[in-house]
Assembly symmetry: C2
Homo-oligomer: 257 residues x 2
């Protein structure tokens, strides 16, 4: 921060959003179709310029609302009594390669949002062009997305996968009340694995602060009615919900015991 007060290199700063949800058993991301060059017609993450007088978090919330009609739950200035369910929103990372936008020098602060399975890309100013898109093909070929949005998506998905292990954020993919089976299908979709329903049930109901039982039940899936739960007060899970194969040992197999 030791710098002269005089001139400085001017940057554009944008807030872009990786908003994830689970639809039809698969992880999906909210994309808009670009209406202008460059990358005309390509998929892109929703987002836009940070205003001169607003915080980064505020810009992310505003862009989410403007482009998708979704209300986000971030920071202390949360106004209740408003339509639509909130989504979880947190800062992901910043991206500032000099050539990432051919038009100008722009630094993007990316945000990660987790949303329940909304009926459709919710109505909003620009919402017409926004669609839920399965992430798997996009992760396999990141260049399908405009700019460096493929890399941002990859980082967002990896963050979501990691946070499901030690935080109760999986509930952000569900509605206000949900069954253990619905929560399990969230984990299975995000991680791309099959989990044992019986061990999963014992684990999530046994982790203190994760779930709050409402005495009521729901028979949404044809079998025995399941109890409905709401998110509990925990912000960290203990013990954690570790991914089956372990957290990806990134070293030669020969080094294992």
């Amino acid at each position: 921060m030791a710098a002269p007060e005089t001139s400085f290199p001017p940057f554009a700063v944008t807030a872009d959003l990786v908003v994830l949800t689970v639809r039809d058993g698969g992880l999906c991301v909210l994309l808009v179709s670009r209406g202008i060059e460059p990358y005309l017609g390509r998929g892109a993450l929703p987002g836009g310029f940070v205003h001169p007088d607003e915080d980064l978090d505020h810009a992310a919330r505003r862009e989410l609302r403007e482009e998708t009609g979704i209300e986000a739950d971030i920071g202390p200035d949360r106004d209740d009594d408003r339509p639509g369910p909130p989504v979880h929103l947190e800062q992901l990372a910043s991206y500032g390669a000099p050539d990432r936008d051919p038009r100008m020098r722009v630094v993007t602060v990316a945000y990660l949002g987790l949303a329940p399975n909304l009926p459709a890309p919710v109505a909003g100013s620009d919402a017409a062009a926004s669609t839920w898109t399965p992430v798997d093909p996009l992760l396999a070929d990141p260049r399908r997305l405009a700019f460096d949005h493929g890399a941002i998506l990859r980082d967002g998905v990896e963050r979501a996968r990691a946070k499901l292990e030690y935080s109760p954020l999986a509930t952000a993919f569900c509605g206000p009340e949900f069954t253990v089976g619905e929560l399990r299908r969230v984990y299975e979709a995000v991680w791309g694995v099959a989990l044992d329903p019986r061990n999963f049930h014992r684990k999530v109901t046994g982790t203190p602060g994760f779930l709050l039982g409402t005495g009521r039940t729901s028979a949404r899936d044809g079998g025995r009615p399941a109890e409905l739960f709401r998110p509990g007060p925990a912000t960290r899970l203990h013990p954690a919900m570790l991914r089956p194969t372990g957290p990806t040992p990134h070293f030669p197999k020969s080094a294992r015991r």
Copy 2:
């Protein structure tokens, strides 16, 4: 990213550094003393403007080198054959409250660096003013630091504490070779707890990919000579090195079993 190509609100973008090390059994951060207003004479994180043609990671590395003489190990463009040991450096988060700098609208991309216990703030252009400062008093009263650097420091320390659990990054606080006892004192200093030396030894040597034994030994601490180790190939620890009390259950105690 759907925006007109014309004008945009100009921002200054800086890269600021939270560089941590362990000295005398305590966690310390590298600070510079501000030579100009505002916050004249206060401690501040080293950093500076991102250049018009450089990546964010590059700016962080450059600022670290310019202000402290420390070479960092980040990204693919790492040039070996250079003096001094590298440090670990990773992006931490971005901070952009409208009033965080009274002079101008500035967004800071903060980086977290982990350094071994260097002899002293290494020689460099501006290194004269940089000093290792224990973090505990700064965390207790964040306003001792300029701008919002107290909050950035808090986030950096928390990131470091968390990453020690599931990554082998604690070795970044040690020299190229170290004993298990030295590594244990790193964990104790960063977490601020006492660990059982015997269980710690069995755990780190039993975690695949964490440590590579060199047949040699060292008697740096007066007792029986200890084997020297180097960092192993693992990038994630499995099983993890969990903090004693568990990962801070942030929910009412009554909810525990």
